[in-house]
Assembly symmetry: C2
Homo-oligomer: 424 residues x 2
């Protein structure tokens, strides 16, 4: 059995896929009995393919010819972005070819339309590489946990953010200097805004939410907060209280509604997610039958992403000419739960004048809104005549806390808007 | 599309599968468009099914009638043990039905024969539940990482052992009292020998090795050491040196050979495996393309195991009448690498008389065999006139260390055989 593969896009990931298909072709054939053969590569610039021996492979710039070639059974879209990626994917699906993509942004915006095209044509659209790179999390969620209602997903889904937060935690650095180093090392994207503002995580959050609840949800409905406001002081105070700060995608089923959001979160230091350091990703999934599971690995990078792309190709190839398996069905679009209803603990960093009655006024206002305090840190150190007052609340309703903070932040002795972080 | 399921075995796991198929039938149908219908349950004793509403399900004691029934497309073997489980599985496969089993012992001894019967009949034999319960590790290894040569697998695969070692670590208990409590709580099997002697881990190690290297290996070739000789002192000394003790299945490709063994191992405390506590399981897999990945969850228990069984059923059901995908191929049987060739660091607990020249004599003998010492702990506390001398070696060849220890353990002042543990 043989399966011809055409790769559109010869950049970082495309090159990694080409490399894997060439180097591990024998292994795949031995283990599965299927010859997965790279037949075509298309890109406007194929210079970075010079390192490979592509004898017998058609290399060119014509993606449409690649899609139309009868020797190509599986089309890999690895150029990224909206267009022409979307057009190529739809053309391939409409030509009766299964498609593998790593294009998380396209999927976050147009996933349902693309999935529908695959179903209509009786082929598959696979995108393991779109979330958490080398970690087979899509497969785990869709297939491995198919018996489960998903109660909760917590995802560390952006390696750049986790790298920055790890260095801030373990090396005592400030956000800005860590970011500069990450950019200088070519580690973060340039510009790094999609990463550090949380939007890359939101794209993946949207995909995981859609999969977990078999429903279409709007990317723009997901509340997103990045890590740019996290200071080394926050990291240090959190540690003092027994927590690490991680940028999490949090997805939950609550009272029949779906909650999905992206935000920096205090994770207890003995939670497995706290042990996920540097550029690694991890996804914690709790199902009603399997209970807690966690998946960990490299969420980005040429080869880990290629591993996911090629796994999708092999899955399709092992099927041969047989019809595609019953597709996962997406129900009608659903709205997300209002985050104000969220009930949990919160970390508050208040910047206050160091004068009598401050703590009393603050705690009274919080108490008026039903928010009670679990613990408190105040140091003598002053910054511009202000001090940090760190409060950890007991379980409280987010909207009540926000009302209290609106009043508190209006007080004379408050130096800047209170920084609020959720606690896992 | 509908798929009839017959469950043989109505015990703990069988009951969990029945419960899941009944409670989450709607979810599975919604998400996949496939009706997975429980049609039959067979066991000699079906009393524990009384809690379920089995209207429309044929319940009886005749497994052969279940297998023969044309309404049954997938047969689940959940009675465990060798016979009649093996006969039922072969009969079902030969009748052209796919089989799902959780029977790790049967697979460890007869896996290749059973897989061959599935291939010969063009059906599937799936066994996600046989290793690490609710963690979809078989799927991750076979499908999710299909592009990878597997360099290393480290598995915490027995919940009872990990629970005992965790309590010894965090509560300072001795092995015997922790085990007694685990048995009293119904947590450990009775008798617990298969668990604590490492054989249960060895069964899973054999299955993972066969999958990772697509080859048949002999269960009896895997060196197995349980946790019965681990004392609280070992746990405490290891922590002092920055390690936790975990019972690991270690599977590696070394110089074209395969290494597989089960033994208590010192894991650095900042390794993710060290954060796997209590009854949880985890499998760390390093591939040549994806690099490091880790999978974590509940390795046993009624519902986590049922989650894995039902996921296998859904995978088969989604295929409908289409032929089974290309099966994973097993190459000819291979021998395991001689463990004497192992190169690594070792923890040694020597029990010596507290007299002049002891440390000198021991280190000289170790040095004669090329073994050098990285660190050392000796406390003043005596036990029956002996003291513990704890040595951590630098990287060394295991056979050289064993030769040195044979000479050392013969010395007059050595009170008992030196306890050796490997270091990750």
């Amino acid at each position: 059995m043989a399966c011809g593969v055409g790769v559109i896009g010869a950049g970082t990931v495309g090159g990694g896929v080409v490399k894997t298909l060439l180097s591990n072709h024998e292994l795949i054939a031995q283990q599965t009995g299927v010859e997965v053969v790279l037949t075509h590569v298309a890109d406007l610039n194929t210079e970075c393919l010079n390192e490979f021996d592509l004898t017998g492979v058609t290399v060119g710039s014509d993606a449409k010819a690649l899609i139309a070639d009868p020797n190509v059974q599986v089309v890999c879209e690895l150029i990224g972005g909206f267009e022409p990626a979307k057009t190529f994917i739809l053309e391939a699906l409409n030509a009766g070819k299964s498609v593998v993509t790593a294009n998380k942004m396209l999927l976050a915006y147009h996933g349902p339309e693309l999935c529908k095209a695959a179903v209509d044509n009786g082929v598959e659209l696979r995108y393991e590489a779109a979330v958490a790179g080398g970690i087979p999390i899509i497969k785990a969620l869709r297939e491995g946990l198919s018996a489960n209602h998903i109660n909760v997903i917590y995802g560390i889904l952006n390696g750049t953010c986790n790298y920055i937060l790890s260095r801030m935690t373990y090396e005592g650095l400030e956000f800005e200097e860590t970011l500069e180093q990450a950019v200088a090392m070519g580690f973060a994207e340039t510009p790094p805004d999609l990463d550090i503002e949380g939007h890359d995580t939101a794209h993946k959050c949207q995909i995981l939410t859609s999969l977990a609840y078999s429903t279409e949800i709007g990317l723009d409905e997901i509340p997103v907060e990045g890590i740019t406001k996290i200071t080394h002081a926050d990291v240090a105070y959190a540690r003092e209280m027994g927590y690490l700060i991680k940028l999490l995608a949090v997805i939950r089923a609550v009272d029949g509604e779906i909650e999905a959001r992206v935000q920096p979160t205090l994770v207890p230091e003995d939670h497995l997610l706290a042990a996920v350091r540097n550029e690694f990703n991890a996804v914690y999934v709790q199902g009603d039958i399997a209970d807690a599971t966690l998946y960990y690995g490299r969420g980005a990078g040429r080869m880990p992403t290629a591993s996911a792309v090629v796994a999708d190709i092999v899955d399709i190839a092992r099927r041969g000419d047989a019809p595609a398996p019953a597709p996962f069905v997406y129900g009608p679009r659903r709205s997300l739960r209002d985050t104000g209803h969220h009930e949990g603990r919160f970390y508050l960093r208040l910047t206050t004048g160091d004068c009598p009655g401050v703590l009393g006024s603050i705690c009274t206002l919080l108490g008026n809104h039903g928010v009670s305090i679990a613990s408190c840190i105040q140091k003598e150190e002053q910054i511009d005549n202000f001090v940090h007052l760190i409060l950890m609340t007991h379980e409280t309703i987010e909207s009540a806390l926000r009302s209290a903070l609106a009043e508190i932040d209006a007080l004379d002795f408050i130096g800047e808007t209170t920084h609020v972080l959720r606690v896992l």
